[in-house]
Amino acid sequence: MKFLISLILALAALSATAQTGGGPLTIRITQGVEGALPIAIVPFEWAGQPLPQDVAQVVANDLTRSGRFRTMPREDLPARPSDVAQVNFKDWRTVGMDNLVIGRITATGDGGYMVEFRLLDVFTGKQLAGFQIPSHVSNLRLTAHHISDIIFKTLLNMDGAFSTRIAYVTVDRKDAKNSTYRLQIADADGYDSKTILESRQPLMSPAWSPDGNRLAYVSFEDRNSAIYIQDIRTGQRDKVVSGLGINSSPAFSPDGGRLAVTRSMEGNPDIYVVDIATKQQRRLTTHEAIDTEASWAPDGSAIVFTSDRGGGPQIYRMSPSGGDAKRVTFNLGNYNSRASYSPDGKKLVMVNGGSGFRIVVLDLETGGSRTLTGSSLDESPSFAPNGSMIIYATMGGRGTELAAVSVDGTVKQRLALQQGQVREPAWGPFRK
């Protein structure tokens, strides 16, 4: 019941005012795990005109995309039950399925729907999960993502991140002086993209607030970098940091009240923390080298950042009140940058440069590292809020694309925009 209430709240909050722009992202699974769980998602029963979203198909796509499930193609389904009484479990065992999802959708008036689904264990014949979720014509995709989250959690005992969103920057370039930059938000599967800001000047470095309601980003609309915070529901935006030199690299504190930023008005880039309400700033680094790309530990106990105080860029860690910074990256080559924490605070993901630029995960407890990607120009890695996947930007056939990789490197996906370049993905928090 608590789930339903929070779901309804989430749906109410979703009355986005932003306009749609750009094409949808298309997603290609480039590598999945061995031993993915076989599951059949039966089309949900529905008696009316075709719905704007095929809920069961969205669920199937979500689960397939995770790399952890093998979903049965529709044409191979041995039956299409919508009620437990109609299910002959032996049929499903015969075709090698472990689990089965059935459901039905009924209209409740004024564009409202009730989406009911059950997750069944084919071997025991038992129901593992069953929910009735109120939805709306505008929110059927989100409802489907919530169903995917429930299935994921039930079968893998891990929070799904299907109902989360990503922010990213797209660029349509005509020539060196003529480009259109868009800050966009989309569902984690790349659909439902909305442009929340469009500019002829560069946009950079989107960062989510912990509550998922605001984005901080860098805009050059005043012919210099400045940091803005924008409410993604109302579109209202505030210039938070501007002035001489660089004003960039915003990162929300875990409590959402402060921003770690980079400023260079004193002559070289340093890390500052800005109180968002009072705009008061506190300088954390004073080194004459480049200090930038701050990221908070999830518990707020530390800030990591990039500094070239030792020569090349490396990752350092310090207290959120400043003071001594200790180098974190050793024996990882001479270029490490843009680090950010995993949601459990135990790992860092970063850009590692050598013969190319790859995404590397560093385990802060063991000191071990893993190179997750193998292209030459990978950048801007960002953890999913469940810690399972990392989204990043990479060079594709038509320019920069987004890609995602599981933390263990086994699952890989590509997300490509229909037109233009797409880059700087930032994976948003769980929707409350």
Partner: protein
């Protein structure tokens, strides 16, 4: 008619007549650049004459014409850098010197220095590298006689490449500082 422009126009003519087309002497430029110190590399006197007549008739300064002279080092507005470097290369020293001398001689003139980086590595770090390049040029301009107040710097990092390729040639074109006169 702007008296300062008229004066510098006349000074320029005197200098050209006296010294011909000498190349820039770095030492004299550094010790307080004046109009006379400016290097005119190829000595296109006809262009200078044209500048004078323009300056005397419609009020546009000789400097403006000089800025637009394709044979002047002032026409070079882009300074390129080596990989991961903000050192001003030897082949761009004379360009920086010429702009410094011009700014020293035209204290009312302001410029914007845009620093840029190639696409390799992280964007925010590249934003810092772009600034380092713009500041390196500014530092040298100020050493050579410009005042800091004449120079606005801005870094675009790797956000505004001129070349879109993913090869060393494109990277070399993108690692740059661009000078634009206001």
């Amino acid at each position: 008619m702007n008296r300062a422009i008229l004066k510098s126009t006349l000074l320029l003519l005197v200098a050209l007549t006296a010294a011909g087309c000498s190349s820039l002497n770095k030492k004299s430029a550094a010790s307080g650049a004046s109009v006379e110190d400016r290097g005119i590399s190829s000595g296109e006197m006809s262009d200078i004459d044209a500048a004078r007549s323009q300056g005397l008739t419609d009020g546009a300064g000789a400097g403006a014409a000089e800025l637009n002279d394709p044979n002047s080092p002032l026409s070079v507005r882009v300074i390129y850098f080596d990989y991961d470097s903000s050192n001003i290369r030897q082949d761009f020293q004379s360009v920086v010197e010429a702009h410094a001398a011009y700014l020293a001689a035209h204290p009312e003139t302001t410029i914007t220095l845009e620093g840029h980086a190639d696409e390799r590595g992280s964007r925010e770090y590249n934003l810092a590298l772009g600034e380092r390049r713009a500041l390196a040029v500014r530092r040298q301009l100020v050493l050579l006689g410009a005042t800091a107040g004449q120079i606005r710097t801005v870094s675009y990092g790797e956000e505004r490449p001129v070349a879109e390729g993913h090869d060393e040639q494109s990277y070399g074109l993108n690692r740059r500082a661009e000078i634009s006169y206001q």
